[in-house]
Structures are given as structure tokens and as C-alpha cells.
């Protein structure tokens, strides 16, 4: 015969409910809480790892940007240095070229001056040489050739003077000087006076001056005119007329 014990039924109901609370309080809730805590901790760790990864990524990107910036600055600095060096090199070359040109001009001027001086010395020496040669050659000729052969030339020189100049020669107060390479003989003096009268149309009485540098010839000087009629004058004229170029070609 089955019979329910209602006291047992009630007490067991109370017991099961108490056990439900106790197990929930001391077993199931703590275990579930620690599982949740571990999951949360793992989630935090994953989040921290993701954050650290992002930060590392940002740091790496920043480092790459800094490296790229450094490379860019280095390249810019190199380019600037190359430009500066190129400018400095060009400036130095220009300065060197200018210095070279200046020195070349100085050298050219010095060379020209030296050549000019040399040319002058050569010409002077040539003149002296020509005078010496002419003097030596004239010594082979008769002594009368130094004067007589130049009387006609003196007349021609006087006649080529302007008329006004010839009239001034004829004035009474005019001072005439007749240069000869040696003292004139009486015949030569007469011939010269006759030639002067023939050219000026009036008798003249010039002062005779001996000038051996004439070599040969007769020259007349006044205050307003001069008639060159000598070997020295001819040589001087020839020396002037003959250029250095003609000398080189010859």
C-alpha cells in the first residue's frame, strides 16, 4: 500500500529549493563568473594585442614616413649641394677665365709694347745702319757729289713751296739757314746762291751751317718753312714709308 508522507514532501521541497540556492551560490555562479572573467580577460588581451598591433603599425608607418622624409631631405640636400657646387664651379671657372683673359690681355699689351719698343729700336738701328751705309757709300763717290748733285733738288723743293711761303723767304728780315754736309767750296757756294736766286727770283744770302749728319745734300730752313733735300731726310722718309710688313715680306 502506497501512502504519501506529506511532511517528507514538504521538507524535500524545502530541501531542494535550499540546495538550488546553495549550489547556485557556491558552485554554478562562481564557476560561470570565473569563465566569464576569463573570457573577458581573453577579450581584453585580444583587444590589447590588437591595440598594440595598431600602435606598432602606426609607429612603423611613422618610422617609414620619417625615413622617407629623411631620404627626401637627404636627396634635396644632395641636389642643393650639387647645384651649389656647380654654381661655385661655374663661378670659379668664370673667374678663372676672366683672370686668364685679363692676364692674356696684360701679356698681349706687354708683348705689343715690347714689340713696339723692339720695332722702334730696330728702326732706329736700321736708320743708323742706313746712315752708316750711305755715309760709307758716299765716301766712294767724289766729294763734290755730296753737294752738287743736290742743288737742283733744293731748287725743286723751293719751287714746290706755296707762293706765300716763298714770298716770306724773300722778306728782308727773314733768317735763312743753309745746311750742308761739309763746308762749301767757293764754286759750290756760288752755284747754290745762283740756284736760290733762280728759285726765289731775288738774291738771298743765307747762313751756311755745316751738318755732317746730312751725309749728302742741302737743306734750307727758315722760321716758317723747311726744305729737306739730303740723304738723311731721304732715309728718314723711306724708313717711315716702308712698314714692318714690307720688311717681313722682303
Amino acid at each position: 500500500m502506497m501512502a504519501l508522507d506529506w511532511w517528507t514532501l514538504g521538507l524535500q521541497t524545502l530541501n531542494v529549493l535550499v540546495l538550488l540556492w546553495l549550489l547556485s551560490r557556491f558552485l554554478l555562479q562562481p564557476i560561470a563568473a570565473i569563465i566569464a572573467a576569463r573570457q573577458q580577460s581573453a577579450s581584453h588581451l585580444l583587444d590589447d594585442a590588437a591595440t598594440a598591433k595598431d600602435e606598432a603599425q602606426q609607429i612603423r608607418e611613422a618610422a617609414e614616413q620619417a625615413r622617407a622624409e629623411a631620404n627626401r631631405q637627404r636627396t634635396a640636400a644632395l641636389q642643393k649641394a650639387e647645384r651649389d657646387a656647380d654654381l661655385a664651379r661655374r663661378r670659379r671657372l668664370q673667374e678663372a677665365d676672366a683672370e686668364i683673359e685679363r692676364r692674356r690681355q696684360q701679356a698681349q699689351e706687354a708683348l705689343n709694347t715690347e714689340q713696339q719698343m723692339l720695332q722702334t729700336a730696330i728702326e732706329a738701328r736700321a736708320g743708323h745702319l742706313a746712315l752708316a751705309i750711305a755715309d760709307r757709300l758716299m765716301q766712294r763717290l767724289p766729294d763734290s757729289a755730296r753737294v752738287e748733285g743736290f742743288i737742283d733738288g733744293l731748287v725743286e723743293g723751293l719751287e714746290s713751296l706755296p707762293a706765300e711761303t716763298r714770298r716770306s723767304l724773300a722778306q728782308a728780315d727773314a733768317v735763312l739757314r743753309l745746311k750742308a754736309p761739309r763746308p762749301l767750296t767757293g764754286t759750290e757756294h756760288s752755284s747754290c746762291m745762283a740756284a736760290l736766286r733762280r728759285a726765289i727770283k731775288i738774291p738771298l744770302e743765307p747762313q751756311v751751317i755745316v751738318d755732317p749728319t746730312l751725309i749728302a745734300g742741302l737743306e734750307l730752313e727758315t722760321e716758317h718753312a723747311m726744305v729737306r733735300n739730303s740723304l738723311r731726310a731721304d732715309l728718314a722718309r723711306l724708313q717711315t714709308e716702308i712698314s714692318p710688313h714690307d720688311i717681313e715680306q722682303s
Binding site: 514532501l9 549550489l23 564557476i31 569563465i35 580577460s41
Partner: protein, 231 residues
């Protein structure tokens, strides 16, 4: 074991209240289970030891079972289902201790457990659907089904009682008969069979409780992240 298993022997009286063996054994189980739980969960840490791993494995398995069976988050039902399973298992296995008669071998304890499941299904159903919504479930699929649905509530509760009571009581009864007829070692296979039967009955009772609760709240399928939630 000469007394009828259908009777509940009274050990002593506390005043006017008769205290049966099932109640005393239940008190002992409560004390042991509470003390063990307190001892095991005193020093829980994020880096678990072996005991904590076993406990967490049990809770995770329980949660997964609730999630798979009821298709709902397991937190509101974990305490009820877990307590039912642990108490029935401990009660069934208490028969291995000489002189101890399992509380589940007495009808009062099984009635209490089944009634708790019935009331819990009603309570969770009303909390989830509302009173009107829960009552309307008795008229599904048609109002003609109202008597049958009411009878179903009673019969499945009764089936819970009878299934647990019959299996445990029969095991105790067979073990008593065997002990009275044979020697010391002969009942050992039956005791091992009792272990298996006790564990299976605890699991079946818990699963059926989950099924009844799930039917009462008419759970919908969980989204994938919750359904396959792993520890």
C-alpha cells in the same frame, strides 16, 4: 530490506514533525555538496587547476546542453537544471554507501522534483509569453486540444515521477533482494549497474526538464554565435 519500498520510514520526530530517511539523506547530501562546492570554488583563478578545469568543463557542458536543447541563453536555467542533475545523480549514487537509501527511491522526492519542473515551466512560460500568451498555448493548434494539453501537462509530470521512481526504486529493490539471497560479492555487478542507471536517470530527468521548459517558453533558434558558443 524487508520493508515495502513504497513506504517512507520515519527515523525520528522533530517535535510533531516526522523526519524520514529521505529527508536526512538529503540533508547530508546538501551538506556534502555545499561543503564540496565551497571548498572547490574558494580559490578560483583565471589560470585554473585540474579541479577547476573539471568544474568549468561541467558548467560549459551544462550550458551547451541547455543551449542546444532549449535554443536560449543558458544563464536563467543553469541553476535549476544543474541542481536537478547534481542532486539526482548524488541521490542515486548514494545507494552505494551501505545503509543509505537514496531519496529518489521514495516517491515524495520524485514528486517534489517533478513538481518543481512543472511549476518552473509554468513560471518561465508566463514570464516569457505573458499569462495570456501562456494560457493560449493550451488552445493550440485548436481550442479542442485544451483538455488534451492539460492532461499532457499532468501526464508528462507524472511520467517524470514514475520514470525516476521506478528505475531507482527497482534498483534498490533488486539490490536488496540480491543481498538477501546471495553473498557479499554477488551484488557488485548490480551496484555497478545502479551507477550507470543512476547517471542515466539523472541525465534523462535533466534533459526532459529542459525539453519541458523549452516547450513552455517556445524558444526560437539561437543566432549562430550563441548556438556555437565555446569556452
Amino acid at each position: 530490506m524487508t520493508e515495502s519500498p513504497l513506504l517512507t520510514p520515519v527515523l525520528f520526530h522533530a517535535g510533531p514533525i516526522p523526519i524520514s530517511g529521505a529527508v536526512v539523506v538529503t540533508w547530508l547530501l546538501i551538506a556534502v555538496m555545499t561543503a564540496t562546492s565551497w571548498a572547490l570554488t574558494r580559490h578560483l583563478s583565471l589560470r585554473p587547476g585540474k579541479a577547476q578545469c573539471i568544474l568549468e568543463l561541467f558548467v560549459e557542458t551544462l550550458d551547451n546542453q541547455i543551449r542546444d536543447t532549449m535554443q536560449v541563453p543558458p544563464e536563467p536555467y543553469r541553476a535549476l537544471i544543474g541542481t536537478l542533475f547534481l542532486y539526482i545523480l548524488a541521490a542515486n549514487w548514494s545507494s552505494l554507501i551501505p545503509g543509505i537509501e537514496p531519496p529518489t527511491a521514495h516517491l515524495e522526492t520524485d514528486i517534489v522534483l517533478a513538481m518543481i519542473v512543472l511549476l518552473a515551466s509554468i513560471g518561465y512560460g508566463m514570464a516569457t509569453r505573458g499569462i495570456g500568451g501562456y494560457l493560449r498555448t493550451f488552445a493550440e493548434p485548436s481550442w479542442v486540444m485544451i483538455p488534451l494539453n492539460l492532461v499532457e501537462q499532468l501526464t508528462r509530470t507524472f511520467s517524470l515521477i514514475v520514470r525516476l521512481f521506478g528505475n531507482v526504486m527497482s534498483g534498490v529493490f533488486v539490490l536488496g533482494i540480491t543481498l538477501s539471497l546471495a553473498g557479499l560479492l554477488v551484488p557488485i555487478p548490480f551496484m555497478a549497474l545502479d551507477l550507470l542507471t543512476g547517471a542515466i536517470q539523472a541525465y534523462i530527468f535533466s534533459v526532459l526538464a529542459m525539453v519541458f521548459l523549452g516547450a513552455a517558453i517556445e524558444a526560437h533558434p539561437l543566432p549562430e554565435p550563441l548556438k556555437h558558443k565555446e569556452p
